[in-house]
Amino acid sequence: MNDMTDTSNNPASTDQKLKEAYFTASQGQLIWQRFKKNKSALFGAWVLIILILSGIFAPFLTPYDATISGRDKDYLNGAPQIPSFCDDNGCSLRPFIYTSERTRSIETSFRWVTIVNTELEGRRYLEFFVEGSEYTYLSFDINLPGEALDFRIPGFTFNTHLFGVDKGMIHIFGTDSTGKDIYSRTLTAINTSMAVGTIGVFIAFIMALVIGGISGYYGGFLDSSLQMITDTVRTIPSIPLFMALAAFIPDVWSAETRFLFISMVLGLIGWPTLARRIRTHLLTERSQEYVLAAQLCGASSSHVIRRHLLPSFTSYIIVDLVISFPYMVLSETALSFIGLGLKDPVNSLGVMLQNVTSADVLLNYQWYFIPVIFFITLVLAFVFVGDGLRDAADPYSDSHK
């Protein structure tokens, strides 16, 4: 915003240079200045960046594939294995865990029993940068109609993982009932949640921009009827509506198609609040003096929208998008949790929590709940950053600095 009408008569007593720097700063710089001062928001931003990065680099940071192909068939419903340095057999410089074996014989009345081998030969030593299952980045398969148009970008394939053990497998968060590593699944699930949220927020944003924009720019009858529709959609409780829409998904759809559809549904239902904000903002900004000034100078309406109206609320829109992000993530979690959202090969917190309400899990396998901690952290980080951005987004609100 180049416009300084509100602040030009501010009786600033600070020295001239500081004042100049303040008035010539771009809006982005001002927001960043204010955001930096907010300690909790800054902390949230760091946590968020770390979580997102660990989601993106999940294949490297986790020792095993998060799908069924990475399962450990010898360690079902296994407890977290914490590497230690010492035990009764003496200490070791390299941290180790024990080998667990499932056996069934006449001594165990033919039931599967897990035996932990605490002898020296049962030790599994922790290693770093081990070779393991392959994963690829930047690989695309494009299937356009016609043979000639199909092409494949192979991307980069790696097989190095941050840590592993010399023999067998290690599960620092334990395993689930099929032997999948919960730690690997948790980090991949962060990725899924971010992807669902991004697609959902993007669709909601486009719809909100179109509907709110039309409504706020034209006003009048069109505005009232669009507002009526927006309010109606807002009145319907969204989770039951999600459930009704998600029930359309045919069972034959692949997990990836489901994932796309669910993200789209989240966006299709999430737009009304955003649309309302955009409309309100356009309505108030439209009658501001700087718009009038531009119009009096002979600016066309497209120029007014591009140069004055849009820049005046991009920061608000970004804030709103950040704030609506956790809602998308949580809605997806809720949907998947009740079995209407994502399905198994795709990992998300909701999918991982699907079977935890049984008494068996509650009593015996509490490590199923470890991912919850990560997700509460993720959502809290988003909330802190969103709040900090909201406070910072109005750079002129406390110009008496």
Binding site: M228, I229, D231, T232, V233, R234, T235, I236, P237, S238, I239, P240, L241, M243, A244, L245, A246, A247, F248, P250, P326, L330, T333, A334, F337, I338, G339, L340, L353, V356, T357, A359, L362, L363, Q366, F369, V372, F375, I376, V379, L380, V383, F384
Partner: protein, 334 residues
């Protein structure tokens, strides 16, 4: 008085218009599901061993009125819906209003109670936190309100179950003890119900409470800084009288206004909390209808009734606002 009745009339017609729009959305969703009632019914008969032809499906369609145009069927559905009649469920072949009846009111009662509890907690706590300068209190309240978003009700329900199972060996689920589940309403059953209902009420109201505290606090701290409060303080009004007579009255209108949205928030959580805590009421019926049996008639009826309650609450709060605040009356009537 005339102005007021005009306001009520305008507001009521708006509410009905909203309901009609909602019914259109819900009915369209019901229609979009692949396979109609006739096919389902005939498929059921087929599974019972009867031999079915295309002609049978057509005959069943005509019997159910499915051959009529879309708009006409929607009209019939909405007229019946306003009378509380939703026809039969295709899957269960039972009358929906009978099936829902008591369960719906039970759920609505639970949700309204949680809403009430949420505000009974939020209003005093919000006012106290807005006026006090206690850092510890303010920061802990801030944390609670953040957790209200970050720990959604269903995760809270899971956590409560986890801890109660480990600590007491009982997961605290259900609405009734085994012996009262299908009993007639009696004093003992009511007591048993209340003994079980406090947990769902708390969990359902959890997010709403956190949000309401935030709202009340923000509104109060906005109003407290205003000149009229300073003026009143200068006139010698002080203490709780100052708070109650000036800023609290101003802050009340937006709070009443937000009741409808908080009820919406609670309804959102209802199905999932119901599933986790195995409550046998409309929420779990909705999950049953959608996730298990794909029963669109039942699901549509439940969504319509939930939305109807929100519209009703919004209507009531607007009337209350208009009664207490003449500015609201003028804003709509003009």
């Amino acid at each position: 008085m005339l102005q007021f009745s005009k306001f009520v009339a305008i507001r009521a017609s708006l509410a009905i218009l909203t309901l009609i729009l909602v019914s259109f959305i819900v009915f369209t969703l019901m229609e979009l599901v692949p396979g109609d009632c006739a096919e389902r019914y005939v498929a059921f008969k087929n599974s019972q061993g009867a031999v079915i032809s295309i002609a049978d499906i057509e005959a069943e369609r005509i019997r159910l009125g499915l051959n009529k145009p879309y708009v006409q069927r929607w009209g019939v559905w909405i007229i019946n819906a306003f009378q509380g009649e939703f026809g039969d469920s295709c899957i269960l072949r039972l009358n929906i209003s009978q099936l829902l009846g008591q369960k719906f009111w039970l759920s609505l009662g639970l949700c309204l109670t949680s809403l009430m509890v949420a505000y009974i907690i939020a209003i005093p706590v919000g006012i106290i936190s807005a006026t006090s300068n206690n850092r510890v209190l303010n920061n802990s309240l801030r944390l609670v309100s953040y957790l209200g978003l970050a720990l959604p009700n269903f995760l809270l329900a899971l956590m409560v179950m986890l801890f109660s199972t480990i600590m007491f060996g009982d997961s605290l689920t259900g609405l009734f003890s085994k012996e009262f589940r299908d009993a007639e309403w009696s004093y003992e059953r009511v007591m048993d119900f209340l003994g079980h209902a406090w947990l769902p009420i708390f969990i359902l109201g959890w997010s709403a409470t956190a949000f309401a505290i935030q709202t009340v606090r923000a509104l109060m701290s906005d109003e407290i800084g205003k000149l009229y409060v300073t003026a009143a303080a200068a006139r010698g009004v002080s203490g709780s009288q100052l708070l109650m007579r000036y800023p609290a009255r101003h802050a009340l209108s937006p709070i009443i206004n937000s009741l409808g949205f908080d009820l919406n928030r609670i309804f959102n959580e209802l199905p999932i909390v119901a599933l986790i805590l195995t409550l046998t009421e409309a929420g779990s019926l909705l999950i049953e209808a959608l996730a298990r049996s794909n029963d669109q008639q039942l699901a549509g009826a439940i969504i319509f009734m939930l939305t109807g309650s929100i519209v009703a609450i919004n209507f009531l709060t607007d009337i209350i606002l208009a009664l207490t605040d003449p500015r609201v009356r003028r804003s709509i009537v003009g």
